[in-house]
Point group: none
Chain length 225, copies 2
DNA sequence: ATCTTAAGTTAAAGATTGTTAAATCGAATT
DNA sequence: AATTCGATTTAACAATCTTTAACTTAAGAT
């Protein structure tokens, strides 16, 4: 989840924004002036900054420049009191990604945030190599490979997806409808039967291992390790 | 210098914008409706699209969606007649990077364009090198060359385009229909089979490398590095 | 105990993908 | 205009993946 630095001296607006953004599943830290915000920026790792232009102690533009000396790429959005053209252009010169004039619509701000993060994110998606240990096997999720020194099985996509879900929920019940919606995109009778077939396949791979796929009647399956 | 696609049915405004942007050292192509613009997009390589929402034949939103099926990342800015909130939110949902309401200030548009291009540029500098590393090979996209000290393969255009898409989406699923629309311009049965042939070719080049092109049944392919 | 529903297993059917080779296309050259 | 050559598409067949079907077994309820 993206972390947002919010610098806004108006306490009411600041809290309102923070709550709104947090409700939208962002993690927002609010600072009431530019100095504090800069300190906060040094301390934490933020994915995006929203800076009010008019603030006591250190205004938004100065703050932005300070942030830029620390981090040249973090997206910055300015909030300006009204459409002061000079302000706007000044902001973009510093390297703003966007600006919004007060009063503004929350949804619009949200969409602008999302538009910017989307652009940043598509390239930041770094792969996280995932591997689980199942008895003598190592399950490489990326490569869809179940391998040990002696033997190895190349898994099909569905086998791999299902095994991954089971591993993610090891020793817990993986609910049928959740697995079906996640992997098969719809939980109907036929997909459920298809899933049963794949459970059988996985059990065959793991039959000599000290792990077991148990059925929880009417609920789902549990991988016991 | 960045190339801009401009779709605007109002001839006066369109020419004005085009001249302004060209004066600012962009290379701008103007299209007077959505159909022509889409055709132009297929033909040329653009760094940014500016689309009027209200256009005859094909409106801006439909055009944007068509463009997105061909290219998921090219920045899009909408021009809306007035601040129609629904329009705005709709636009962002499609994946707009920004929008501007008419009447607008040319300088502001320019700064917004620059802000977006700046971000795209830093991203591409950081994450999308012109060359990828695949095992012992270096894949030079420009030169369509897959080379190592010992061996090197000159790739054909299609081989190279497909490998580039796979590299861009490394460790993620490259969807069949996306690849087909991007490289083959149409996803029909025969193009799909043609793509399969090229997957085989690429696999042969990479057969001794620690990278692999996996099939995701019914979805597409995944280059695992 | 009996009944109903869920799950297990296996095999076949259906669909997608892998591979190779031949046919076609298009640009460059004769 | 014909020829050549490489690139791409089409065709044919093989292999693999997924779903469906049929039948069996197990679990829970009456």
């Amino acid at each position: 989840m993206a972390k947002i630095l919010l610098a806004e001296d108006d306490e009411n607006l600041g809290e309102l924004l923070k709550n709104y953004l947090n409700a939208k599943l962002f993690e927002t830290d609010l600072f009431s002036n530019g100095e504090l915000a800069l300190e906060g920026f040094r301390r934490g790792r933020y994915d995006l900054c929203i800076l009010d232009v008019m603030m006591p102690v250190k205004d938004g533009f100065t703050l932005a420049q300070d942030i830029r000396t620390i981090n040249k790429t973090v997206p910055i959005i300015f909030l300006t009191a009204r459409s002061m053209k000079e302000d706007v252009l000044e902001g973009f010169k510093i390297g703003a990604d966007d600006y919004i004039t007060k009063p503004f619509n929350m949804d619009e701000l949200l969409f602008r945030i999302e538009a910017i993060l989307r652009r940043v994110k598509t390239d930041t998606q770094q792969f996280c190599p995932q591997a689980y240990t199942l008895g003598k096997y190592t399950f490489d999720v990326q490569k869809q490979l179940l391998q040990s020194g002696e033997t190895s099985h190349k898994l099909t996509t569905k086998e791999s997806e299902l095994l991954k879900l089971l591993c993610d929920n090891a020793n817990q019940v993986l609910e049928r409808n959740y697995a079906l919606k996640t992997i098969w995109e719809d939980d109907n009778y036929f997909n459920a039967r298809s899933m049963d077939v794949y459970i059988t396949k996985l059990r065959k791979y793991l039959k000599d291992e000290p792990v077991e796929i148990l059925n929880v009647h009417g609920k789902g399956f549990k991988l016991v390790v």
